[in-house]
């Protein structure tokens, strides 16, 4: 794990979440090669949810998602990702906001 990735993981430990197990609210469509925007999410996602695997494809684990919507702005228009709000009551639960 890179130093930066370790750093963001540490930040996410401060937060409260209620994860809707088995129902990820963001899904990446299967792809051979990610677009420039999708690849950019590996550095741009503020929760570090996006990672590039060894085959060069981008994967997501949205458990730590802060629901900012940046990936939706960059990757939804091209159809590469599907973005929904988590079910009511689930997802990040800001204590201060």
């Amino acid at each position: 794990m890179s130093l930066e990735a370790a750093r963001v993981e540490e930040k996410l430990y401060q937060n409260r979440y209620l994860v809707d197990v088995g129902k990820p609210h963001i899904v990446i469509e299967p792809h051979e090669k990610p677009s420039k925007n999708l690849l950019a999410m590996t550095t741009l996602c503020p929760a570090g949810c996006y990672v590039e695997n060894s085959a060069g494809q981008v994967e997501i684990t949205p458990d730590g998602c802060l629901e900012c919507g940046t990936c939706r702005v960059l990757c939804e228009p091209s159809g590469e990702i599907r973005w929904n709000y988590p079910r009511g009551g689930y997802g990040v639960l800001f204590k201060f906001g």
Partner: protein, 435 residues
Amino acid sequence: MIEEKFDAIVVGAGMAGNAAAYTLASRGLKVLQLERGEYPGSKNVQGGILYANMLEKIVPNFREEAPLERHLVEQRFWMMSDRSHTGLQYRSDDFNEEKPNRYTIIRSQFDRWFSGEAQAKGAILIKETTVTELISDAYGKVIGVTTDRRGGTIFADVVVIAEGVNGLLGTRAGLREPPKAEQVALAVKEMHFLPRETIEARFNLHGDEGVVIEAAGTVSNGMTGMGFVYTNKESVSVGFGCLVADFAESTATPYGLLENFKKHPSIAPLLEGSEVKEYAAHLIPEGGYKAVPQLFGDGWVVVGDAAQLNNAIHREGSNLAMTSGRLAAETIFQIKSRREKMTKENLSAYKKALEESFVMKDLKKYKDMPALLHTQAKNYFVAYPTLVSNAMENFLRVDGTPKIEKEKATIRSFVRERSWSGLFGDAWRLARAWR
């Protein structure tokens, strides 16, 4: 399924949604408010500063009960280079007034209070419920919403869409486009806790006085962006944001930029020894006047961040949100009192009211600013902060160089970097966009 039909459904319990729900309910309308969070505020993120004037117009005596942090007596604007900052600072004891003008707030606490006030006026709140779709009739008029609850279809005469910057409902229904990468900034923020006395000593504050630091410069790596430090009672909100379009072209991470900002020699001593209790991220509408979408239609209005109503230059958003929520609600109340229908034509009065208010007037004033700062980011965020820092150091460092030579060196450095025509052009462009 809720059989009852409502006068209005408000989607979202942020600033705009709460202002709308409160205003509608206090005028006797039957209002249902839907919020996807565990409680109002649990999904909402802001710096955050509250502007009292716009809340007073909705809840006149809010100061008696609202959870407020500190009233602001001082503003620091910092132009940052890597190791310095050049500041413009304003502090006045006149801000220590009976009814202060600006306060810091913590959104999860504030929103819970504001929503409670709306409920006290009669609004019905359903939490932990995500609205999934707008329902329209055969003529395209919005007549209600569906939610993620079983049988969760609810009808109303009008739907107030207060779903925030990343709103899915309105874009999916084709009422507006989703925001574009150059129209939104991504900001990340941490809550740093420190003892009250430490905050007051470090920031030169007495009692509930507060200070705001807003900083821009080389800390954003040449992107259009800025950092901030806001004092709360027992915590300090520290954040950093840049345009999403700039981030997409860069390899910088948002948390990496925040860490660099926190480590800056002008910021680090302010945070030393603090305990971080939360890390948040949020989009901020930055597109200004030209990004404001269609605001009304048959059976619907859109308010707040969802409508891009944010003044990025003055860092004002929550007051535009509250005012738009109030004006939309007043329009709906007037239509209702005339016993007329919530048609597109009748609801157009909402846009007219917004245009007559500071909301659209302010956005119009700065309509060219977002594009200017975006296209000239390297100049305004790297070149000038570095030049100004060097000029200040040259001015202050006493080393036996005659002053006339120091001045010449400073002027030469500016001309070398930007040329005379570049300097005048930058000043002209900035002045014209500000006008």
